[in-house]
């Protein structure tokens, strides 16, 4: 009763993207990240001059002088759809609102916001994937060991999990970064090292259920070792909760990177990231709405999309086994 009335009520408020929209959003952002060099950049993708074809985007050996020389010869060329690099300054259009020339405007240094947004997707997507990858690997290892062996091993691993969990994750990450120095790789590792506990607890709980099932005994009776049983017979059954938690964690990792970059612990200033864009936008918060809108929306869409997918998988989850 209570459940159905809750459901009815919550139908009014925004519940996240539909699965299709969420997958589309993630695919879109992933495509932006993957194809950033040909979507946004100030070097032509292809040039054609006197029967020769050049690909300046993909070849650093073609210098800017050479490009200018070719241009003056009247070369035929294809520019990226956003013809600005995230590190080139347009001094004629500093802090310009969205216009035909800069579709999402420019920031205080005259850098094109759309270009930064596209390159920032690279940082966010890769932080999400690598950090969650680390978290899942660690979580599966610790969770499977604790759940499969039980007893004193389980006790030890569970205390370790609690020890890591009892620190507020964000401050633990800040502390780690304070020691090792801010960089994109350190963020990935720090977020991964603090995020594995949730996965470990899920895998542990599933593992304790699975290890009592007869096919585990059957595998042992045919001579399989503990390691083999864990990898081959136990972990595949924990996949569903791991996938659900991974997609939530992906959103969390993107958010963590944005927050860290916002606080200045993230990527160096030369690299564009959604968090550092928001941080820069603070200085112009009185009027530069386009500076916060673009990265803010991107973060919202990415996190919400991962969240919606996780929600959807966990809702669909009856146990099949």
């Amino acid at each position: 009763m209570r459940h159905s009335s809750l459901k009815k009520k919550s139908a009014v408020i925004f519940q996240g993207f539909s699965p299709r929209a969420a997958i589309f959003a993630i695919a879109f952002l992933a495509a932006l990240a993957m194809f950033a060099p040909i979507i946004a950049g100030d070097r032509p993708i292809a040039m054609y001059c006197d029967g020769e074809v050049f690909f300046p985007t993909f070849s650093d050996s073609i210098s800017d002088e050479k490009i200018d020389e070719l241009k003056s010869k009247g070369a035929w060329l294809v520019m990226p759809p956003i013809p600005y690099s995230p590190s080139s300054f347009d001094f004629e259009a500093v802090l310009s609102p969205p216009s035909k020339r800069h579709i999402l405007g420019t920031d205080g240094d005259g850098v094109d916001v759309a270009s930064k947004l596209v390159w920032g997707a690279r940082v966010s997507m890769s932080v999400g994937i690598v950090a969650v990858g680390i978290a899942i690997a660690l979580g599966c290892i610790f969770g499977a060991i604790a759940g499969y062996f039980g007893g004193i091993v389980d006790w030890a691993v569970s205390r370790l999990i609690e020890a890591v969990m009892c620190f507020p994750a964000f401050f633990l990450i800040l502390t780690i970064l304070a020691f090792v120095g801010p960089s994109i790789y350190n963020i990935m590792i720090a977020v991964g090292l603090t995020g594995w506990t949730q996965v470990a607890r899920l895998v542990r709980a599933e593992g304790m259920r699975i290890r009592e099932l007869p096919f585990i005994d059957a595998a042992r009776a045919s001579g399989a070792s503990d390691l083999r049983i864990m990898l081959r017979h136990l972990l595949p059954h924990t996949l569903r909760p791991v996938i659900v938690s991974a997609s939530f964690a992906m959103g969390g990792a993107i958010l963590a990177e944005a927050a860290l970059s916002f606080l200045g612990f993230g990527v160096p200033p030369s690299v564009a990231s959604w968090g550092s864009m928001l941080s820069d936008a603070q200085r112009y918060s009185g009027f530069g709405w386009w500076l916060t809108l673009a990265p803010g929306s991107a973060i919202f869409i990415a996190v919400m999309a991962y969240h919606s997918i996780g929600e959807r998988i966990s809702e669909s989850g009856g146990r099949d086994a």
Binding site: F215, A218, S222, G223, P236
Partner: protein, 327 residues
């Protein structure tokens, strides 16, 4: 020629209420090619015994004493003293096991071909096309229709009988010396039961295996057994060959079990099928004396309080009763 000899095997479980002695001082021998049936009602420790021989007892259970001598003559080894990696080489290769539940004893995420190949790839180190050929050969041997197609199917696509055939193929893939079958047909319906038993008997004679068949079904015992050991509350109460058990049972428990089989000849119209009154006693901190005393119709005062030796009446085989008689 004895292939496995179990001596004074005792397995206990630690519970909050106390120590539960699920298997109590069991001894038996099994010869090459022989079928030994272990009979008893639910909870008497049959499965624990089977798992103890394979050393698959997990916490809170442990084997507290005894020997499991595997092999013949001077080359026998005590399985309980082997280290875990040597024991793994025995499991599946020398001693294989079939479980009660064909529905859940197969891993639902792998094809049956994949699972039958597991023991082969573990013990005989074969891979790829050779492995697949052996798997299909095994499936064919256990009478699986269309083995090449079935090898690529998942457990949920097979019927109960086919799954049990797959389990048998899995167990026999490395041609073990001993097959321990723990109620292999309990979860199957009667016609499939008969097919599976026929299959097991046929494969046993083809491969020259010994078999320990754990069951509570006396029909299966009569069909399959060379020798029968009747188990009650963790101990053997009567041992004998099949004729002795079915023809001249001496222990009141065995007699009670046999009486509870519906007779084929016409029974008087309003007669009831005899049963053994009561339940198997709790195995926690068992008092000395006959465990069956509380349910026994021939019970005497001196049945309690003193341990019953193997053959107090001098029958010539194990009959653990002070008042053993044919009637």
């Amino acid at each position: 020629m004895t292939i496995i000899s179990v001596r004074n095997l005792t397995t206990q479980f630690s519970t909050d209420e106390g120590e539960v002695r699920a298997v109590n001082d069991l001894s038996f021998d099994l010869s090459r090619g022989e079928t030994l049936c272990i009979v008893g009602e639910s909870g008497c420790g049959k499965s624990v015994m089977a798992m103890s021989i394979m050393r698959l007892i997990g916490r809170p259970g442990r084997i507290v004493s005894g020997e499991v001598l595997f092999g013949s003559g001077g080359s026998s080894v005590d399985l309980l003293k082997l280290d875990e990696s040597d024991m793994r080489k025995i499991r599946g290769k020398k001693i294989a096991m079939i479980f009660q539940e064909p529905m859940t004893s197969l891993n639902p995420v792998y094809t049956i071909g994949n699972q039958i190949g597991e023991a082969l790839s573990l013990h005989e180190n074969i891979r790829g096309a050779t492995l697949r050929r052996r798997v299909i050969q095994m499936l064919d041997m256990v009478g699986m229709p269309a083995p090449e197609r079935r090898a690529d199917e998942y457990p949920h696509q097979l019927s109960g009988g086919m799954r049990q055939r797959a389990m048998i193929a899995m167990a026999l893939s490395c041609t073990p010396d001993i097959l321990i079958a723990d109620e292999p047909t309990t979860a199957l319906d009667v016609t499939i039961q008969a097919q599976i038993l026929d299959l097991m008997r046929k494969l046993q004679s083809e491969l020259g295996m010994s078999m320990i068949l754990v069951t509570h079904d006396l029909g299966i015992v009569a069909e399959m057994a060379d020798r029968v050991h009747v188990m009650y509350a963790g101990r053997f109460v009567e041992k004998g060959n099949t004729e002795e058990i079915f023809g001249s049972a001496m222990h009141p428990y065995t007699q009670g079990l046999l009486r509870s089989i519906p007779p084929l000849k016409k029974a008087p119209p309003d007669s009831r099928l005899p049963t053994i009154p009561g339940m198997i006693p709790s195995l926690i901190d068992m008092p000395a004396g006959c465990a069956f005393a509380d349910r026994c119709e021939k019970v005497h005062n001196d049945c309690r309080g003193r341990d019953v030796p193997d053959d107090p009446c001098g029958v010539g085989r194990l009959v653990r009763c002070f008042y053993a008689s044919q009637k």
